[in-house]
């Protein structure tokens, strides 16, 4: 179980792996996440599922190397196994025919956006996808997103591909053009989601965001993932991960995400000094 069947590097420090997890693949719905541990003394980290194949019994994970666990995962090779994988967790995305749905994905957030885009498309929505990254090399999963979108607009901050600018500017452009939009789904770095909500709030456009707070158990037992939505404390793992973006306190989320910055650096340095896993790509080549 939890064996890596395929693995590729799809960008600098960005990996995609297909993992054998038949029970999770069978039960998983768009928007849900898993929690994994790489090894016995590993931490539990949440990752949103980027794709699944219930028949083959596999799930696809996409991750960026930022901390000890994700770097370690970067060194894992086909044939290696994860110690633990628990899921699906969290509430699934509310899928129905809204009309026109705009999916906004930034950076690595495009991966979790993919199954939702697919779900929204299958539910009969007219789907417009806006995906962006800092630069062309960091764009991921554009082909997959294209297949399940009626329109696709790509932007890069440096103008190296597609529209020169931020995804928020593209979204603003759509709104200014008078495009009838019924729902926005935004997933990406917290500042991006916050910026998207600042755009949609002005025209009171319903906006769903998928939050990524720090978690431990992921089942509502510990409360590490506290977020504030409409002034109320919610647990990201069981009340989310998706929330009404117009009501989310993004500043609090950013502060809480920085809680272990110090220890994370210590752990990462420690990890680099005592390499684990398969050494062939260590650490984070590309």
């Amino acid at each position: 179980m939890f064996e890596i069947l395929e693995k590729e590097r799809i960008g600098p420090g960005v990996n995609r792996a297909v993992i054998s997890a038949p029970d999770i693949a069978r039960a998983h719905l768009p928007g849900q996440f898993i929690i994994l541990r790489t090894h016995k003394d590993g931490e539990r980290i949440p990752l949103t599922v980027a794709d699944k194949d219930a028949e083959k019994g596999t799930i696809t994970l996409v991750w960026q190397e930022v901390g000890t666990t994700t770097y370690f995962m970067g060194t894992m090779c086909v044939g290696e196994k994860f110690e633990d994988m628990c899921g699906p967790l969290g509430k699934p995305t509310h899928l129905e025919k809204f009309g026109t749905v705009v999916g906004v994905g930034g950076g690595i957030g495009v991966a979790p956006l993919y199954p939702i885009t697919k779900g929204m498309h299958d539910a009969g929505n007219h789907v417009i996808s806006i995906i962006g990254a800092r630069t062309e090399g960091l764009l991921i999963m554009t082909e997959e997103i294209k297949k399940v979108s009626d329109e696709l607009i790509i932007s890069t901050d440096d103008g190296s591909f597609g529209v020169h600018g931020f995804v928020t500017q593209v979204l603003q452009g759509l709104i200014d053009k008078g495009t009838k939009i019924d729902l926005v789904v935004a997933i990406g770095p917290v500042p991006m989601m916050k910026a998207v909500c600042n755009v949609t709030r002005k025209v009171n456009l319903p906006t769903v965001v998928s939050l990524n707070p720090i978690m431990v158990d992921g089942t509502g037992m510990c409360g590490a993932c506290r977020v504030e939505v409409a002034g109320k404390t919610m647990f990201g793992c069981v009340d989310g991960p998706e929330f009404d973006g117009l009501q989310v306190d993004f500043d609090l989320l950013m502060k809480r995400l920085a809680m272990y910055k110090g220890p994370e650096l210590i752990a990462l340095n420690n990890f680099r000094e005592t390499p684990r896993g398969c050494q062939c790509t260590f650490p984070g080549g590309a």
Binding site: D23, I24, A27, Q32, R37, D41, G42, E43, R44, T68, T69, E83, D84, M85, C86, G87, P88, L89, V216, D217, T219, G220, M221, C222, G223, A224, R226, E228, T233, V238, L252, K255, R256, A258, M259, Y260, P263, E264, I266, A267, N270, F271
Partner: protein, 475 residues
Amino acid sequence: MSDQVSKPTKKPKIPRQKMPEQNPIERAHNFYEVALGYDNDLALLEASRCLQCKKPSCIKGCPVEVDIPDFVQLVKSGDLMGAAWKIKEKNSLPRIAGRVCPQESQCEAKCVVGAKGKNEPCAIGRLERYVADYAALHDDGKRPELPKSTGLRVGVVGSGPAGLTLSGALIKKGVAVTVFEALHELGGVLVYGIPEFRLPKAIVRAEVDELQKMGVEFKTNWVVGRIETVDDMLEKRKYDGVFIGSGAGAPLFLKIPGENLNGVYSANEFLTRANLMKAYLFPQADTPIAKGRRVVVFGGGNVAMDSARTALRLGAEEVTIVYRRTMDELPARTEEVHHAVEEGVKFQLLNSPTEIVGNDAGWAVGVNVQKMQLGEPDASGRRRPVAIPGETAHIECDTVIVAIGNAANPLVPTSTKKLETNKWGNIVADLETGKTSRDRIWAGGDIVTGAATVILAMGAGRKAALSMLDTFGIG
């Protein structure tokens, strides 16, 4: 002279034998077990204090009704293996119960030796622990033969004390059992909640191994309610019965300003990081924890004591328990409070937190408290704390642990069709049988009672097992 010789001298009273412990100054900085356990001499002395009552009342104080006088008699006669088996007839987890049971309010509260007033009761819990540890150390591999399989199959939600006890009771009657656990480790609160220094995890592991050897199947990383519902277990997996022992496990907060600041933990999170995730070994183990210099703990129960003592062991210079009543009303076990005091935990009593103060970076830097006094008794019989107008104080700190209890985790109850719950979200179940509003579904432990003790959960597991066997017609 003759008088003195002829008059039979009264046998000197043997006092209750103290439990050897690690010295408080040393142990406040390590995670090794605090209580060291009796040796054979102490155990024999203590066992000799038992009066072997004809109508033993101690048994009535035990939620799983261990035959206490019988096992103590076996200790006296030197048959420690026999004593262990005697306990195991009723309690499949004696090494755990011997450590975490609140005996002082159960079996020992009913002990006749103590009831006479002048003397302290027989130390039943310490004897149980001694016997069970001895048996584990001198394991001869002999096990009672298991009966033939009945073909019946039961699914268990949660591998905490309720689920483990039930599994043990069922497998011994030839019922196949599969336990589904959400976390990666087996034992529930025994591994994520109760700290290593009170209950070494190796002991939990050994008890689980024992059940595994008997044939109980375990499935970790399996969140019932998400990956599969209880209804799926009955319909697709065709279990003859399902037992829900999913625990309390949704932490409560005070809902005061500042509770979402960095450095503020629920006791569940703090203890899970420290125990289950071994954050005290960081960075050898990957999970970090905020190692506070000055730590404030809200609450006065066992979990508050565990949190405070864990914070000390992680290196805190000062740990203060803030509680709104007095020492007399602390809900924690006397022994746990005593241990905390010995180790240097401070108590700021008759104080109720009103706000957690933070800095610009979003970290907690202090706690504002309101001074209280005790007024009239409330519904719980304890005197209600009342605010003294205008009397407030500030406590500087960098870490706050909120240990004020748990609500029911809604994941399993709400994903099970037509399962009756009460207004707090706890599953409604008969306390004598564990039967719920649904056929073939039993429940027990904290998910039914709200946060209680390990032994009550074990008692609920045992009762539900008996009820299942009865329903299956193989009681």
